[in-house]
């Protein structure tokens, strides 16, 4: 049977950062990903990252992906692609499907870095072709170079909705409007200002009433919401759109963690049910760690830091690092994570993550 020191599930920013960190310590690392290309969501991120220099601020997302891949290659990390992990079984046995066939690999430590998936929104017509996640539209334009449509309605004014609106325009589409159910814009002011300057109107306290069309999206009817989030009849607006992009949040992809038997806690601001973990990113199951959006939805920079943390912790528990060296590295990462979780947007996540750690302490 195939064996490895550390198996990392998911080759996105968290998984690759974890692999690099653990391999640097000397561990044998195998990364599994169901996609045909590694990098997770990094390769569709053509915008520059925020934050400070150690968080690679000013560097575009796909370049960060390229750097991570170069490092994994240099360090001899094995990356298995088209490997859909479907279960974690007894004694840390990972079962996965490659090319339609069943395979297994046994690992001393497992890191789940499975990421998140886009939330859907229910309204009449929501299953028509042309209604899609904003992230899916972003993949189409930035990775596959295909325009999902010409006339777009974006739903949701978080950073994803704002950034993808701009990128759709760069790719040649027309964003007819951005609508937001809340009374104010959710994402960064700079992003919102940028798309406003480009002529996109942002309608707050507005939602989709109905998407029209027989076999595909042929029009959108939006409607105002009152203070109680109820639709106000008579305020309908018709848009001649052919595509609706939904940027209404993400949910952690936790199926594997549920299956493995990790204990969970419920923290709505992190995306709902999230696995409980400790300061080392270890779940309630010994030898099984998590990193990135599976631990609660944040962003790529903190995902990478959590990945590094899990990598160092795994390396330490396999004795590739002594306690002092590991503590020194972990202290640096914890500091950087804390820095990422400050400011008006980070504060809430900081409190939420404290709650998650507290759930672990209460169990112990």
């Amino acid at each position: 049977m195939k064996t490895t020191d550390i198996a990392v599930i998911g080759a996105g920013p968290a998984g690759l950062s974890c692999a690099v960190e653990a391999a640097r310590a000397g561990a044998q690392v195998t990364v599994l990903d169901e996609n045909l290309k590694p990098g997770g969501q990094l390769f569709k991120q053509i915008h520059k990252f925020f934050g400070s220099r150690e968080h690679k601020a000013g560097i575009r997302g796909f370049r960060i992906g390229q750097q991570l891949l170069e490092e994994t290659e240099k360090l001899g990390v094995e990356v298995l692609l088209d490997a859909a992990v479907y279960g974690i079984y007894e004694d840390r046995l990972i079962a996965y499907i490659t090319d339609g066939k069943d395979h297994t690999i046994k690992a001393k430590k497992i890191v789940m870095a499975t990421g998140a998936s886009e939330n859907a929104l229910a309204f009449p017509g929501c299953t028509l072709p042309g209604v899609m996640g904003a992230g899916a539209a972003q993949t189409m334009i930035n990775v596959n170079r295909v325009l999902p449509g010409q006339k777009i309605i974006m739903v949701g004014s978080g950073n994803v909705g704002l950034i993808v609106s701009y990128q759709l325009m760069q790719a040649g589409a027309d964003v007819l409007a951005l609508i937001e159910a809340a009374p104010k814009i959710g994402g960064y002011g700079v992003h919102a200002a940028k798309i406003r300057r480009a002529g996109v109107q942002i309608y707050t306290s507005t939602t989709i009433k109905e998407v029209l069309g027989e076999e595909k999206v042929e029009g959108v009817i939006a409607v105002n919401l009152d203070e109680k989030w109820q639709q106000v009849t008579g305020t309908e607006k018709h848009f001649n759109a052919d595509t609706v992009c939904l940027a209404v949040g993400l949910s952690p992809l936790t199926e594997l963690a549920w299956m493995a038997g990790c204990e969970f806690t419920f923290i709505p601001s992190l995306g709902g049910h999230v696995p409980i973990h400790d300061r080392n990113m270890e779940t309630t199951l010994k030898g099984i760690y998590i990193a990135g959006d599976i631990t609660g939805v944040e962003e790529a920079s903190s995902a990478m830091e959590e990945g590094r943390l899990a990598g160092v912790a795994c390396a330490e528990s396999l004795e590739y690092y002594d306690e002092n060296k590991a503590l020194e590295l972990k202290n640096q990462i914890w500091d950087r994570l804390d820095a990422l979780r400050t400011g008006p947007f980070g504060e809430g996540r900081f409190t939420a993550k404290l709650k998650q750690l507290d759930a672990r302490r209460q169990l112990a």
Binding site: G87, Y89, E90
Partner: protein, 405 residues
């Protein structure tokens, strides 16, 4: 404080059936369930109402009586329970199995079960998906199918319609006795005054028994089942293999390889939606509801041998359920002599769905009339048939607490 004539503990198919039959007879009944309807064993099984898998004797007799009630339930309940009588086959793939099944069939025929042996060609004509190298199969037109979750829900809604009170998400914390008689049930949502309690908690029945000092010999036997994507009709009725029957009644005859240790035997059926349910295992691993890669592989390997077409079909899910196993394979039903007003309705192992209808009726008879008009010997189903000194040995020898895992 609430008052009721009977408290039924457990919202699986058995508890719901007991509550339904009592409520329909006009008894004031309250059903208490820790979690939700069919959230345990009743929601983690296949859909066969198999007569052929019942031990010829009291077991088969009860099943025959039970199955007679299903067409009426299909009419009566407000939920479509998807009852069908598509027959069932037990596939035989060695000469040795053929000889054993010959005797089994003869005994079943004597008890009134219509079942016959079919040679290979006839078996494959009825079930074209069978492999070419089988020896033959049995066939009974009397085997049926039902959706176990809808059945439990149908009983539950029926009970409510006839006036039963139901308390879901409510945990029983204790049972109060007065002079050797049940006087109230203590729950985390208040106490209920009652003189009668039915313990319908399946694999958890021993925990309720312990509240009144009863030692109940029921232990969990895990069964793992695999679900495939929906496909065009492939399997007609219920399909089992001769090994399934052996694993159920005489696991020691299976040998000592891995597949024998897991108690692998084929159970195969297709749901109304087209999904195939492929089972299963019989394992004594305590209360663990995990699936294991080793067992899923063994089950699929065995299934593909007998039905080669399965090879090209995608698996989408797997789950495990805990079957309430008793030392003699019969359920524990009826009055418990030592405690007045305490009744048992548990321990059906993998036959709870098929026996749910008769169990509800029997309990209702015993609680309201003190006896049943059905020709069933309740003494053979009583808790008292077991000696207390044997129970601990039974638990330990069957790894009840999962220590050996």
């Amino acid at each position: 404080m609430q008052s009721t004539d009977v408290v039924v503990i457990g919202g699986g198919v058995i508890g719901c059936s007991v509550a339904y039959h009592l409520a329909r007879r006009g008894v004031s009944v309250t059903l208490v369930e820790k979690s939700d309807i069919a959230s345990g064993t009743s929601g983690a099984c296949d859909k066969a109402v198999l007569l052929q898998s019942k031990n010829p004797g009291l077991h088969l007799k009860m099943a025959l009586e039970s199955v007679k009630l299903f067409p009426g339930l299909q009419e009566e309940l407000d939920v479509d329970i998807e009852f069908k009588k598509d027959g069932g086959m037990i596939v035989i793939y060695t000469e040795e199995q053929w000889k054993i099944m010959e005797q089994f069939v003869e005994r079943q025929n004597k008890l009134g079960l219509a079942v016959q042996l079919l040679g290979k060609d006839e078996a494959r004509r009825r079930q074209p998906a069978f492999a070419e190298n089988i020896v033959g199969s049995t066939y009974s037109p009397m085997d049926g199918e039902v959706n176990p979750i809808y059945l439990a829900l149908g009983f539950f809604r029926g009970a409510k319609k006839y006036g039963a009170k139901t308390m879901l998400g409510t945990e029983v914390r204790g049972i109060k006795l007065e002079k050797g008689r049940v006087c109230s049930v203590i729950t985390d949502r208040g106490n209920i005054n009652t003189n009668n309690v039915v313990n319908a908690c399946g694999v958890y029945a021993p925990f309720i028994g312990a509240m009144v000092g009863l030692d109940i010999p029921i232990i969990p036997r895990r069964g793992q089942i695999i679900v495939t994507e929906p496909v065009a009709p492939l399997i007609h009725g219920d399909v089992n293999c001769a090994r399934y029957i052996t694993a159920k009644f005489r696991p020691e005859l299976l040998g000592n390889d891995e597949s024998a240790r897991l108690g692998v035997g084929l159970s195969l059926g297709q749901t109304e939606n087209g999904n195939l349910l492929i089972g299963g295992t019989r394992e004594f691993v305590g209360y663990s509801k995990s699936t294991t890669h080793r067992a899923l592989r063994a089950v699929l390997k065995h299934a593909v041998k007998l039905v080669p077409a399965l090879k090209g079909i995608n698996v989408i899910r797997s789950f495990a359920g805990l079957r309430p196993y008793t030392p003699d394979g019969l359920p524990i039903l009826g009055r418990v002599t030592r405690i007045k007003g305490f009744y048992m309705a548990a321990g059906h192992e993998g036959d709870g769905i098929a026996l749910s209808a008769i169990t509800g009726k029997l309990l209702c008879d015993v609680i309201t009339y003190g006896t049943t008009s059905l020709d069933i010997d309740m003494n053979k189903l009583s808790l008292e048939r077991f000696k207390e000194e044997d129970i601990d040995v039974f638990r330990k020898s069957h790894n009840c607490y999962g220590d050996a895992v």
